[in-house]
């Protein structure tokens, strides 16, 4: 701010930033050639590096985290430009159940084998992919309640909306990170369901 600044330069800079005038890449080249005149403290640089690393990790986990049934169905439906009503009318699932399924609010085990068969035929989902997602989603739905209770003890937010959103996000993060084994009884139930689903195909 100490150096003199010309009004014309300011005007031209605004025009440049708004895309009204161009330097045909000369400015970008100059930036590369210019020695950085401003020095930044090592602590500032280290903090920024950490922030970027965290963003990189979170992007990576988002990209590699396995899909749940809800996320999968929603993406597939949107990809095919369908409305929930279109799926409901073609598969015979009740609208409430389908909406809960898209939001991973219901265990896939609660849906009849007949409905699953219709869904698989409608979306052309391979059985092995469907099995993986059913396992994951059942695990998420089964553990979600306990995640929420645990997290609620640590959460001090007063705003109810914010609190719910934080818990929801935290529960999902926990699910992605955790590989919690289901209780034996629950596991048996899941295996039996998946076996029946496979036989349904045959």
């Amino acid at each position: 701010m100490n150096t003199k600044r010309d009004t014309i330069d300011l005007l031209l800079q605004v025009a440049f930033l708004e895309g009204k005038i161009t330097t045909h890449g000369l400015y970008e080249q100059t930036v590369l050639k210019r020695k950085p005149l401003v020095r930044s403290a090592d602590a500032v640089k280290a903090a920024l590096s950490q922030r970027l690393e965290a963003a990189l990790l979170s992007n990576r986990s988002k990209a590699t985290s396995p899909l749940t049934l809800g996320a999968f169905l929603r993406r597939l439906r949107e990809h095919q430009s369908l409305r929930p009503q279109d799926v409901i009318s073609r598969t015979g699932i009740s609208s409430n159940i389908y909406k809960m399924l898209e939001h991973d609010r219901i265990s896939p085990l609660k849906i009849s084998l007949k409905s699953w068969k219709a869904m698989r035929q409608f979306f052309q989902i391979p059985l092995d992919a469907l099995e993986d997602m059913i396992r994951r989603t059942h695990q998420l739905v089964f553990f979600r309640a306990s995640f929420r209770t645990t997290l609620a003890r640590y959460d001090t937010r007063k705003n109810k909306k914010m609190k719910a959103a934080t818990l929801e996000k935290a529960a999902e993060e926990l699910f992605v990170r955790a590989t919690l084994p289901l209780p034996q009884k629950e596991q048996e139930k899941l295996n039996a369901f998946l076996k029946a689903l496979a036989e349904e195909k045959a």
Binding site: K4, T23, A55
Partner: protein
């Protein structure tokens, strides 16, 4: 002997990790940084910061006069955007593609900052006018021409709460007159004005204009005057 080895102290400059990372930096290409970031390698973040943080900070504070604290925030936003969008980036022509892509993000962020400043404090109010008063480079009428264009620009942006889409198009419309007046100048004059506004060295501009750097230095003030004159004639369009 054991005591002797234990008492040898390695100079801190050699053990400092930053020393090694700096030495390595000089050999890093943009392609390497992009590859590291796409693979999720944390080292890519450090290289990105080492290569661009001070560079962009310098551009924001020195060329666009963004206050230091705002500039630091702006630069970290730019680098975060690079991290978040790295998977959408592809090299098409050369290693420089990444630099141009990053500079586009930087330019957009600076533009957003300028717009925000225009909507809240006003661009003219942030301008260090005292320096010009002493100079007596421009007359009051000439100054008023510039002021009216900037005012128009600020008004076209409206308040920060207003519809962003319509603000953008009307903001560009308010600056239409600048492009029109520049078109009336000779090519070398146009290049000189545009480039010096972004503090591109005279020597670099000389390569594109066929005039020497010394000549350009002399002509710069005159060309500015000419530009202002033409701008003054177009003022009715602005108002």
């Amino acid at each position: 002997m054991g005591f002797f080895i234990a008492s040898i102290q390695i100079p801190p400059a050699v053990t400092d990790f930053r020393y090694f990372s700096y030495r390595r930096m000089a050999r890093f290409s943009n392609q390497q940084i992009v590859r590291e970031l796409k693979e999720g390698d944390r080292l890519g973040c450090r290289h990105l910061v080492d290569l661009y943080q001070e560079r962009l900070l310098g551009e924001a504070t020195r060329v666009f006069r963004v206050p230091r604290l705002d500039a630091e925030e702006l630069v970290s936003d730019v680098l975060l955007a690079v991290i978040n969008k790295i998977n959408t980036f592809e090299f098409k022509r050369s290693d420089g593609d990444f630099h141009y892509w990053l500079m586009t993000i930087f330019r957009n962020r600076v533009r957003d900052f300028m717009r925000h400043r225009a909507q809240t404090d006003g661009l003219w109010e942030n301008f260090d006018e005292a320096a010009l008063e002493d100079d007596e480079t421009y007359s009051a009428t000439e100054r008023e021409v510039v002021r009216s264009i900037l005012r128009n620009y600020e008004e076209s942006l409206g308040s920060p709460e207003e519809n962003e889409g319509s603000a953008k198009s009307s903001a560009r419309g308010a600056l239409e007159v600048i492009a029109e007046v520049l078109d009336q100048l000779e090519t070398w004059e146009r290049v000189l004005l545009r480039c010096r506004a972004l503090e591109i060295p005279y020597e670099d501009i000389a390569r594109y204009t066929g005039k020497t750097a010394k000549q350009l230095k002399v002509y710069h003030a005159r060309v500015k005057k000419k530009f202002l004159n033409l701008l003054g004639r177009q003022t009715p369009k602005v108002q």
